[in-house]
Amino acid sequence: VTEFCGIDLPHPIVNGSGTFDAIAARRAFGDALLEDFPFAAFVSKTVTLEPRQGNPPPRLWEQAGGMINSIGLPNKGLAGYLEQDLPLLAELPVPLIVNVMGFTRAEVARLVEAFAELDEVAALELNVSCPNVETGLIMGADPGETGALMDAVRPLTGKPIIVKLTPNCTSPADVAAAAEAHGADAVSLVNTLRGMAFHPLRDGLPWLGGGTGGVSGPAVRAVALAQVCDVRARVSVPIVGMGGVQSGCHAHDLLLAGADLVAVGTESFRDPLAGARVAAELSEILPNSEIAR
């Protein structure tokens, strides 16, 4: 049993936000999915205050060791999520972690407040990879911004707050330290690395409809390992490590680096049961691991 922010989990493997739609997967695979759910906790896709269509296609680019996505956080908005998604996600056999994003601190605060007292929600994750439109700074790229955001939302809920760190900044570890100092219960990393690809037939024209996107998959695994090490050296709160995990061995590496939980993301696109497989492989490794001692 793994303990994370006061939540008991049967194993340390969860999903990365936005890499698994439990509602669509249940429609595709039936209730068998619930009986053998691939993750110990479910992190839902980013919710924003207002509904979002997402970015124009194409949204995907396959590249060496992974992919670039430019999805643009399509979602039904807070009201739609509460009305349509939350009742279905509450039926999952695992704790629910809700990921939220706002374009101002006040927006994030409204989102946190909306979930603050809901029994269906075990914890909140803040997506800070977007700009604060009032300051022009990426909320998670600047320690001062992150600290100020935590100051705004920390008093609003007793639920655990996880700050999802972006790797696209000078020092994720500085941001993690600010998050911890201002009351974050945990941090998760890495989000995708900003990248782009040109159209294969038109020189210099971006392929992705959104221009740039986020790189994920095995290509970012080494970056994730280094950043989790850096962050662990600076904070004592739990860490959810992720980035290119494809096997129990990769998950074990992130645990050795200091993560408490490990998220599987892009690998679930290649196999919806990847989370269960990684958890099973990890359970074979852990009894003989340095971590168990």
């Binding site: 739609d21 296609p57 590249q63 060496a64 399509p74 696109f269």
Partner: protein, 218 residues
């Protein structure tokens, strides 16, 4: 979704990485599935290299397929190129009476028409069947009897021509569409196409969409 279980990855530029989405061409009583693929990129190249007894990773069936025509409408199946695959399994389901119109680049590609029963063929270069577009055949059919439901699959320009023709004639059409996919089960939101009601995920809300829901096929 299909992928080779061995050496998926390691090709040109370390691709393929993601599995590839395919329609089933035909399923047999012994459980065998047939697929039709054309070697056009690293994924289809690797799949085309597979030998008997090699491992194939498969996830499916996924998504929403063709629906039967309303009472009083005959099914008209219209396909182009490698996009004829879902029409074969649909013709099997509908029965032999379903008329099939197929378009190909040339006679060599038109050999694929043998995968369906009694198709009428058009080729761009006139080397087999009707010289011209498959939509010429469709226009003539709808002219002789418009009480039909059209089932289309093929390259986007062909599907757009089918959509526009059916819209003009007031004939319902269902189009099997294609988009790059990462997962195939609604997780990644990468395969969206624009419809009159916004973006929809082709993997879970398609790949078959009602033509009336589309402004145009892009």
């Amino acid at each position: 979704m299909l992928a080779a279980t061995e050496r998926w990855g390691g090709g040109a530029d370390e691709r393929p990485f993601l599995p590839r989405a395919f329609s089933v061409l035909r399923h047999h009583h012994d459980g065998t599935l047939d697929f039709l693929l054309e070697d056009v990129g690293p994924g289809t190249r690797r799949l085309a290299e597979l030998e008997p007894a090699d491992g194939l990773w498969i996830l499916g069936p996924l998504g929403v397929g063709f629906r039967r025509p309303e009472q009083g409408r005959r099914p008209l199946l219209v396909g182009g190129g490698v996009g004829i695959a879902p029409l074969a399994i649909w013709q099997d389901a509908l029965g032999a009476a379903a008329l099939v119109l197929l378009g190909f680049r040339d006679a060599a590609h038109a050999a694929g028409a043998a995968l369906l029963r009694a198709p009428r063929v058009a080729t761009d270069d006139g080397s087999a069947g009707h010289p011209g577009l498959v939509t010429d055949l469709l226009r003539a059919e709808l002219g002789s009897d418009p009480r039909a439901t059209v089932y289309g699959c093929g390259p986007p320009p062909m599907l757009e021509a089918v959509r526009a023709l059916c819209a003009a004639e007031g004939v319902p059409a269902q189009l099997a569409m294609e988009s790059g996919m990462a997962c195939g089960f609604g997780a990644c939101f990468g395969c969206v196409v624009p419809t009159r009601s916004g973006y929809v995920r082709l993997c879970v809300d398609g790949p078959v969409l009602d033509a009336a829901d589309l402004e145009r096929v892009q």
